[in-house]
Subunit: 149 residues, 2 copies
DNA sequence: AGAGAAAAGTAAGTAGACATATCAATTCTG
DNA sequence: CAGAATTGATATGTCTACTTACTTTTCTCT
């Protein structure tokens, strides 16, 4: 067994790559042009309309600069609206447009359906276990303040 | 429980982020300037000197274009040597320089030591289980030809 | 041997990801 | 209330990552 197959970091990078690949592929097949992060942003705004970019960044665990660029593209696609906040002129209030709402509604089942395929070769029990372990680790990391801020 | 916490893709992205963050941080603390992928490339070349860029790309599961850029930077840092292959003038033969060998030797224990911290909040048994499940999924994905080629 | 397919590397373009610095606005503190 | 610290957003730079297109070289098959 090579070194890389023992390395948590390498395995995680590999899984990340696979999941991104599957996401992009299925999305294109379904006739949509959304990246994983763009989807995450839309999904987050669906539940929390009216947040600003910093809030969105925190919600999807990315930094402000990254989310700024993501928001630019989503705005250009007409999926979200960006406006200056009244109470804080620094902040940009975000919300889904009608087209954005339609898109997320249409796309959600596709995304739910592909989750399972991101971890091929695992039984249902193993899949559930993986999700449980990953959740536990991710939450612990969040507590340790490790990651994007 | 929010949607994103059920989503395999989101969890994997989050773990990827945490692992990259820890890697970069510890590396810098140890006085080195190596990214995860640069490390993976060096580690691969240590075991397989004389491969070309396409071979390296396959070994670390990235595409040729990405590895080309990574190799550029490693060459500039003086860690690897790149030369035109005699038997195939298209190919670039790669090998660690002496500095590259010293670097990977010095860095390996640091990297081994931080693997565990990439998955915080997991017991030793859970960590082992995660590695096993991730390996299984990654290998299955490889078989399905999903990912970079 | 010669034509066509395949492969190695590179270039250009897009997107994510983050650090750092900067600017403007807001909040905290003395 | 004035100055300081903080925060929201953006700009810049670096690195990863992949696609598509292109050149050069090699391989294959007739």
């Amino acid at each position: 067994m090579s070194v890389k197959l023992r390395m948590a970091g390498h395995l995680i990078r590999r899984l990340h790559q696979v999941s991104t690949h599957i996401f992009t592929q299925r999305m294109r097949e379904a006739g949509f042009d959304l990246t994983p992060v763009q989807f995450a942003a839309l999904e987050s705004l669906r539940h929390n309309p009216g947040t600003d970019q910093a809030g969105l960044a925190q919600a999807v665990a990315k930094d402000r600069a990254t989310i700024g660029a993501v928001v630019d593209r989503l705005e250009q696609k007409g999926l979200i609206a960006r406006s200056v906040s009244q109470r804080d002129k620094r902040a940009r209030v975000l919300a889904l447009t009608e087209q954005g709402q339609n898109t997320i509604a249409a796309v959600l089942p596709v995304v739910e359906a592909l989750q399972r395929d991101m971890l091929p070769g695992l039984s249902d029990a193993e899949y559930a276990q993986f999700i449980a372990l990953a959740s536990k680790a991710a939450e612990a990391a969040e507590t340790l303040d490790t990651g994007a801020g």
